[in-house]
């Protein structure tokens, strides 16, 4: 009896520090966020007026920027996740049967951007994307092409940022896929080979399905990451030109900390949370229904 009590008390002491931090800095802010979203809550001064759901109504009906940021968030998310997954997978599969030496070299170099500071990466790419003087303009001019002013062009600004982020993260995705590949037992392929399955068939029917846990992880975390993209858009375009690269998190930051509208910013945060939640849930659901063999 007594041992039981000691065990419980010790356990509570073990979890206490973590629990306090989680409650104070994650759970409490979640509810505080909901609370703030019901108020007209300026950053300046102390006049806080309860407005009920007015902030939500205002955002859905009177804030055209919100819909644009929503579209941009999905645009960035879809473009980034799709490209980074495909390129990571492709590179991993091609790299798989290379010798250890090549694997190490390629892994090391491709992984380098993933550990580099995003702020620095953004600044390098701003300089590369610069019209007239930038490296990309120069390389294109060798081919006789005059490129657009990448980050100042409505059509190209978002793809430019996506491209940079894919460049940054594809090595990371590749490493995850390589780990996934190493978990596939060779016997699967032996059996397939005896059945006479072609290389493409084997990739499609054996490798890919067996990589599904890795894919789920890459897509799910990639999506969450994409929904929180901030530093590149803030530094490279600050949402422009026009609203072409304005994403939800940047909109939240501006509303709250630049225009002193904390209530509306909290409302947008709640919406972003629901969005992330729903998208993740759909991915999980798809994963469970689509693949249990």
């Amino acid at each position: 009896m007594k041992t039981r009590t000691i065990e419980s008390v010790s356990a509570y002491m073990f979890i206490m520090p973590a629990l306090i931090v989680l409650c104070l800095f994650i759970i409490y802010p979640m509810f505080l966020n909901l609370y703030i979203s019901l108020f007209k809550w300026p950053l300046l001064g102390s006049t806080r007026i309860f407005v009920g759901l007015k902030n939500y109504i205002r955002i859905f009906s009177e804030d055209p920027v919100f819909w644009v940021t929503l579209k941009n968030t999905f645009y960035f998310g879809a473009g980034y996740v799709f490209l980074v997954t495909i390129s990571g997978l492709l590179i991993a599969v091609l790299l798989w049967d290379m010798s250890r030496f090549y694997q190490t070299v390629v892994k090391t170099i491709l992984f380098l951007p993933a550990v580099s500071m995003l702020v620095c990466i953004s600044l390098i790419w701003i300089w590369m994307y610069m019209p007239q003087l930038g490296l990309i303009s120069y390389l294109l001019s060798l081919l006789g092409i005059r490129g657009p002013a990448w980050l100042r062009d409505t059509t190209w600004a978002m793809p430019s940022i996506i491209f940079m982020m894919v460049w940054k993260d594809m090595g990371y995705v590749m490493v995850l896929y390589l780990a996934g590949l190493s978990g596939i037992p060779e016997s699967y392929y032996d059996a397939a080979k005896i059945d006479g399955a072609g290389a493409w068939n084997r990739f499609w029917h054996i490798t890919l399905p067996l990589l599904k846990p890795a894919s789920l992880f890459v897509v799910a975390t990639g999506t969450i990451k994409a929904f929180q993209v901030f530093a590149p858009v803030q530094l490279m375009t600050n949402g422009g030109p026009g609203d072409a690269t304005r994403v939800l998190l940047l909109h939240i930051y501006h509303k709250g900390f630049l225009f002193s509208r904390m209530g509306e910013a909290a409302t947008l945060s709640t919406i972003l949370f629901i969005l992330i939640f729903v998208v993740t849930a759909i991915q999980l659901k798809y994963y469970h229904s689509g693949f249990i063999t």
Partner: protein, 284 residues
Amino acid sequence: MKISILNTWSSKFTKASKLVFFATLVIFSLIPYLWLISTAFKPTSEVVAFPPNFIPKNPTFNNIRKVFEVAPFLRFFLNSTIVSVTATLSALIFGSMAGYAFAKLRFPGRNTIFLIVIATMMVPWQITIIPLFNLIVKLRWVNSYQALVVPKFVAGFAVFLMRQFIMGIPDELIEASRIDGCSYFRIYLSIILPNIKPALASLTIFKFLSMWNDYLWPIIVVKTPLMRTLPLGVALFFTEESRSPSFYNLIMSASFLALLPTVVLFLALQKYFIRGVVLSGLKG
């Protein structure tokens, strides 16, 4: 050598064409870094030269020197180190302690509390910047190290990761020490921690990198130059006021200095970095 039929689809390519492919890929990955280094060491006159020369004709260390003159760069470095090291240590300690309790100890409410911990993993902190800032204001922590570190002490992920690994430690090992009369804290120190070293290493890398590279939270709570962390310090060079023809070589020098430590660390511990990321990724 893996002469493997695993490689199914990729075996369609000849080795030569693959080498070409990977050579291109490696160059593609490195070009921005080379361009960074090239610009960082160019004198002003060469920065805006067109067509650009990849290798500076008159390389100079002036820009690097100027970075330290223009801003307290070492202080930024120190701030980042303090913030990242503290948060990493706390995540390791608090995470493994809680992970141990959830994995190996029985106590009322264990499953419910663990479910709550899992639920917090669904909430990215970025969506709580508004209330978090409010909280920091109430605590009177604006522009302090506490504000940068304390909210990041430990996340649900660290607890979860630790629990997963500690679950893998055989109960017999623990029971044996129980019989020897060890306290739970002794068991935690002498059995649990030594057995989850790979997990600790993995969490260290994960947490350290995310703290070291974070930009959004510092930009909200930091108010004075001397409190800036490295990402904010680098961004300082990219403002309208810092514009000049030597604008970009100075920015690139600052970026170069900011990237150098992590890059060197990564190249030295490359194996652990990659393994760490895989471990935290696939277990989590």
